[in-house]
């Protein structure tokens, strides 16, 4: 137990405190305090981590701690972080924080809503701090279940259908995952579930790897919106309430990419090298297919969901390129996509909350009615299409440069196809922006709508600051991630 466990403890305390709350004000107080504490913790962690590295600590994980949990099966509660998980923890806490403020006005069953919301964030944080296969899996499941209720109860549209579909597909993914984890455990013949120790042994036989790598990769890939297992995403996002969409697209989908890298590729590097081409093709399809699909959607959330398929596809795509630059780019893309998608969903939620429609054919001229939200929407769009100075550019350029280090025609072709997605992204983003924000208001009833409230502004400004901060000063985080992907990459290059 060390201070990393605060990431689990704070949400637990929040759960307890929420339980005792009697009115909305108290609930809001607890949520604001808890999510701010998590955000501060993450910022402190970044500084501590960088200080630790500066001090010359070259372990692959810092702040490790280990507690035996269930000895007969060698399950430990072990924690530790490297640059990748620090980045992910920072991302998660930013999104939990802004999500809290984005759902400030939640009025239906408020207490229950925030209870599940806190439980979900606990699962997410627990996943990123764990270094034990089983603990990771458990936290992963903790993050999934609340999603079902949050969408099913507080969602909109075909919420039961979407919640059911999302949960079943992700559960299917975790079934794969569980067998993958067991395969790894028994395949390595280890007496531990600790990832670092299994990686240190590096002894899973190749023929076993060839079975368990695809299983694990698909298991996580379902969550990372790997084609063709991405279809839960459009429906799920469309039905989810604002903060849940934010958390889901912003953080939960990153669990997929993180798991693929940290478990599937780290522990079974030979099979990853052997089979990467299959998944490269699938992710390449994701990238371009998501972008094209987004071009013709008419629901704001569907556009964003398909855009997420495209951008998350790029994450897995870059990971499978298996070199340090591309992997750094993948993590940067996780960060960048998390932030800007959360921003998008927050804004869509705010617009939907006012206009009660997400159909772009019924929206228009919002720039005149709600200038603040509209300008932020344009900024989110520009980040999405990779404008320099915002986060998307940094991530995409790192990925493309990394992918281009492979000189063979197969990788080259895929890289160029993936790079072409930046043009299609521009097409759907500008179409959307032109349609809903510019022009004259199409619906006279919209004229009396108001612009953002203070808590909405806080949430949105916080996200934009993060997006711009990452885009303007990328070097420190790129270095931090760059040195952390090396242990995994060196595992793959014997």
């Amino acid at each position: 137990m060390n201070f990393l466990s605060l990431y689990v403890l704070i949400p637990l305390l929040m759960l307890g405190a929420l339980w005792a709350c009697r009115n909305t004000r108290q609930i809001r107080g607890v949520m604001a305090a808890g999510s701010s504490a998590l955000l501060i913790l993450s910022i402190a962690l970044v500084f501590l981590y960088i200080a630790g590295r500066r001090a010359g600590n070259t372990d692959s994980m810092l702040f490790t701690a280990d507690t035996v949990w269930y000895a007969p099966l060698n399950i430990h509660y072990s924690t530790g972080v490297d640059g990748i998980s620090v980045a992910m923890l920072l991302l998660s806490s930013v999104i939990v924080f802004t999500g809290t403020f984005a759902s400030w006005k939640m009025s239906y069953q408020t207490k229950e809503y925030f209870l599940w919301y806190s439980l979900l964030s606990m699962g997410v944080f627990g996943f990123f701090i764990s270094t034990d296969l089983f603990a990771m899996f458990m936290f992963y499941e903790i993050a999934l279940i609340p999603m079902y209720l949050l969408i099913g109860i507080w969602g909109s549209g075909r919420k039961e259908y979407s919640a059911m579909k999302l949960t079943l597909m992700l559960m299917g993914g975790s079934a794969f995952l569980l067998s993958g984890i067991l395969g790894i455990y028994f395949g390595s013949g280890a007496t531990t579930m600790n990832i670092l120790e299994i990686a240190g042994l590096h002894n899973i036989p190749f023929d076993q790897q060839c079975i368990w790598f695809p299983v694990t990769f698909i298991g996580f890939g379902v969550l990372g919106a790997l084609f063709p297992f991405h279809t839960w995403s459009p429906d799920g996002h469309a039905s989810a309430p604002t903060a849940v969409s934010m958390l889901h697209a912003g953080v939960l989908m990153k669990l997929g990419g993180y798991g693929c890298f940290r478990i599937a590729m780290y522990l079974m590097p030979e099979a990853a090298g052997q089979l990467s081409w299959i998944f490269l093709i699938l992710t390449g399809i994701s990238v371009i297919y998501g972008a094209f699909s987004a071009c013709v959607q008419t629901d704001l959330k569907y556009i964003n969901a398909y855009s997420s398929v495209s951008h998350c596809g790029l994450v897995l795509f870059a990971l499978l390129m298996m070199n340090a630059t591309a992997a750094t780019g993948a993590v940067l893309q996780m960060l960048s996509h998390g932030l800007m998608t959360a921003l998008f969903f927050a804004l869509i939620g705010m617009i939907y909350g006012r206009t009660h429609t997400r159909d772009i054919r019924e929206l228009g001229g919002l720039m005149k009615i709600m200038p603040f939200l509209s300008v932020c929407y344009v900024i989110a769009g520009l980040a999405n299409l990779g404008l320099p100075g915002l986060s998307g550019f940094v991530a995409e350029m790192t990925i493309f440069t990394g992918s281009f280090q492979h000189a063979d025609p197969f990788h080259r072709t895929l890289t160029i196809i993936a790079a072409a997605s930046i043009v299609i992204t521009a097409v759907y983003i500008l179409r959307l922006v032109g349609k809903i924000l510019y022009g004259d208001p199409v619906n006279p009833q919209h004229l009396k709508l108001t612009d953002a409230t203070w808590e909405e502004r806080l949430s949105v400004i916080c996200l934009i600051t993060a997006v711009a901060g990452l885009g303007l000063a990328p070097w420190w985080i790129s270095r931090m991630i760059g040195e952390s992907v090396l242990p995994v990459i060196s595992q793959m290059i014997p």
Partner: protein
């Protein structure tokens, strides 16, 4: 030269200030901040130029290349990283002058032109953003920094074209400009990636060791792809379609971005990579030259039949950039005395063109401001009402037509000399295009300032001083810029080159221009009653070349082709089917899985009937089956 960092920081600062706090400012304050910053940047740029060119030359006769700042911004690998910094060499210093001067003039001019517009503060914020990005582009120390700022100018252009965001035409134009240039930038990006991989660096000087180990063959590809990006920004055929539409933006913006600075970024890119083009890809350079030549003719022909004053100028810009590109393309060596003249000529023309084309656009803005229309048919006889605008417009027209003492003559003459040096065909071709240029410019001039007098709703009047001052300033620059010993500062290998006028070339081009002007005067200078529209010369040419005229007025149907590709192919044939497949086949499969589970459940549910007899039958049957199985095995 440490102070040069403020050339970038100040506009960035004023952008942030105006973007965040502009709404709470009075319009005049916001405009004042933007203009003051722009003024300081101009002073700093002039100081930079003075100090830079004033410094003694190196021993080999070139100006030193200075890099006052350079820091790693985003590391990729050991050798590849994006740096952000400032590089000063003759062309970047020249560009600093051009950009800051035109930007300052536009800032001042906009005070009058944009007065009372809603979003005045936003306008100045975007102007600052553009100025910062464009300055960052030209001082880039490496190709990736250039790309980053390249995207930023693209976005500022997008924002400014779409400034009147409630006008459908402006929205469509801004979208088109961004997407077309984005498409071209994809080529640029891939070119950069190829270059980075084989040259082992993103800086402008390739790592020779890396290059020699197999990269030389790939360099032409990289440079060719980079030019695709340049062609997009510089509106070369067939990527020119966004520029005429971009005229939907406010006119000062057209002057700054779509005439003087951003659209020459492609020319600047080729000039920046010039040693590589000459050294490794002369074939690509030649292709670039012909692209430029074709574009210049193509756009000049279209300009002859346009009726919107800004469109004429837009096509004229495309055509003039074609001249610059051609001039670079006809270079065959780095020596300005032998085949490298075009480099100097191109930069010279870029410089003079920036001045007189900005002047033309600002003059057009002044006219539009007075008559409230872009259509030439709504104008006529304006020389009486707008004397200042008339004189400066005439100066600009004479300059672009290549009449001596005006700056355009000197730079165009150098270009034509370079073209004749390359091949007589190219030389005569470009002389012909120059004649067409003179014709359409004077068609414009006579129709606006002379010719018939339409019925004005209210009498046109001269523009306020904030607008006429920049006009007079730029007109003075246009008159004098030709006498700058440009070759002393910039030449293909950096050594001083003394400009001399080639008499035969000059005589030929002047004769051609005068004839074209005479023709235009004959047709359009007539006063008197309104004549039937058949009087327009291109209209009377309709009888002779009906197909050509029709095609030219439809801009050779390039827009329609793009329309077809985007709507019919990308949207209807790719996106829609993909979206359908996703919902019905991919998703349908998973839904089918769900249904299978449900139906199976429905089917086997009756087995759990609760009837003991039924269970007993199942039990006995099962036991029997297992026994038989065991016996058989």
């Amino acid at each position: 030269m440490k102070f040069t960092i403020f050339i970038l920081l100040l506009p960035a600062f004023s952008f942030l200030l105006l973007a965040l706090a502009g709404k709470r400012m009075k319009p005049a304050v916001a405009g004042g901040i933007g203009t003051a910053v722009s003024g300081i940047v101009t002073v700093l740029s002039c100081m930079t130029a003075f100090l830079y060119f004033g410094a003694p030359r190196l021993q080999d006769g070139t100006h030193a290349v200075l890099i006052p700042y350079n820091a790693t911004w985003l590391p990729f690998t050991e050798t590849l990283h994006i740096d952000m910094g400032i590089l000063l060499d003759p062309i970047s210093v020249m560009m600093l002058i051009v950009i800051s001067t035109v930007s300052l003039m536009v800032h001042i001019y906009s005070f009058g032109y944009m007065k009372g517009e809603k979003g005045f503060q936003r306008y100045y914020a975007f102007l600052s953003l553009f100025t910062m990005s464009m300055l960052g582009l030209v001082v880039a120390t490496n190709i990736f920094q250039m790309y980053a700022f390249w995207e930023l100018v693209g976005v500022s252009s997008y924002l400014l074209i779409g400034f009147y965001y409630t006008r459908p035409a402006a929205i469509a134009a801004s979208k088109k400009a961004f997407i077309v240039t984005r498409f071209a930038d994809l080529g640029f990006l891939i070119g950069i990636l190829v270059y980075g991989y084989y040259a082992g660096t993103y800086s402008f000087r390739p790592d020779m060791v890396a290059l020699m180990s197999g990269g030389v063959a790939m360099l032409p590809l990289a440079l060719g792809l980079m030019f695709v990006g340049g062609a997009g920004k510089s509106a070369m055929f067939p990527l020119h379609i966004w520029l005429p539409d971009a005229m939907e933006g406010p006119t000062p913006v057209s002057a700054l971005i779509h005439a003087a600075t951003m659209v020459v970024a492609g020319v600047y890119l080729v000039a920046r990579m010039f040693p590589l083009y000459i050294g490794f890809a002369p074939g690509v350079l030649e292709a670039i030259g012909w692209t430029g030549a074709f574009t210049s003719l193509f756009a000049a022909v279209i300009a002859c039949v346009q009726t919107d004053i800004k469109r004429v100028l837009a096509f004229s810009t495309i055509s003039q950039i074609g001249f610059m590109i051609t001039s670079l393309g006809v270079c065959t060596s780095l020596d300005p005395q032998q085949g490298g003249l075009g480099y100097m000529a191109s930069m010279f023309h870029l410089f003079t063109h920036a001045m007189f084309k900005a002047l033309l656009f600002l003059g057009a803005g002044s006219i539009i401001h007075a008559v409230h229309s872009n259509e030439m048919s709504k104008m006529g006889g304006l020389h009486k009402y707008m004397p200042v605008t008339h004189i400066v417009f005439l100066i600009a027209c004479l300059s672009i037509a290549g009449i001596p003492v005006f700056s355009g003559f000197f730079s165009k003459d150098e270009i034509l000399t370079a073209c004749f040096g390359y091949s007589p065909l190219m030389g005569w071709f470009m002389t012909g295009v120059a004649a067409i240029t003179a014709f359409y410019m004077f068609r414009l001039y006579f129709q606006i300032f002379w010719g018939r007098n339409p019925r004005y709703d209210h009498t046109p009047h001269e523009s306020p001083a904030t607008m006429t001052f920049p006009l007079v300033f730029l007109a003075a620059a246009t008159c004098m810029a030709g006498f700058i010993p440009f070759g002393d500062f910039i030449s293909s290998n950096g050594t001083a080159y003394h400009i001399h006028i080639d008499k035969i070339t000059a005589a030929a081009s002047i004769a051609a221009a005068l004839m074209a002007i005479g023709l235009a005067a004959l047709k359009y200078a007539r006063t008197g009653p309104i004549l039937p529209c058949g009087d327009d010369l291109p209209d009377s040419a309709r009888g002779l070349f009906p197909a050509l005229h029709k095609a030219a007025s439809h801009r050779f149907y390039i827009d329609e082709i793009y329309q077809f590709i985007t709507h019919k192919i990308i949207f209807a044939c790719i996106s829609r089917p993909i979206a359908w497949i996703d919902r019905h086949i991919v998703d349908g499969f998973f839904n089918a899985l769900g249904w299978t589970a449900l139906i199976t459940g429905e089917e086997i549910r009756p087995m759990q009937s609760g009837h003991i007899q039924q269970y007993a039958i199942w039990f006995l049957g099962g036991a029997l089956a297992i026994t038989v199985l065991l016996l058989l095995i």
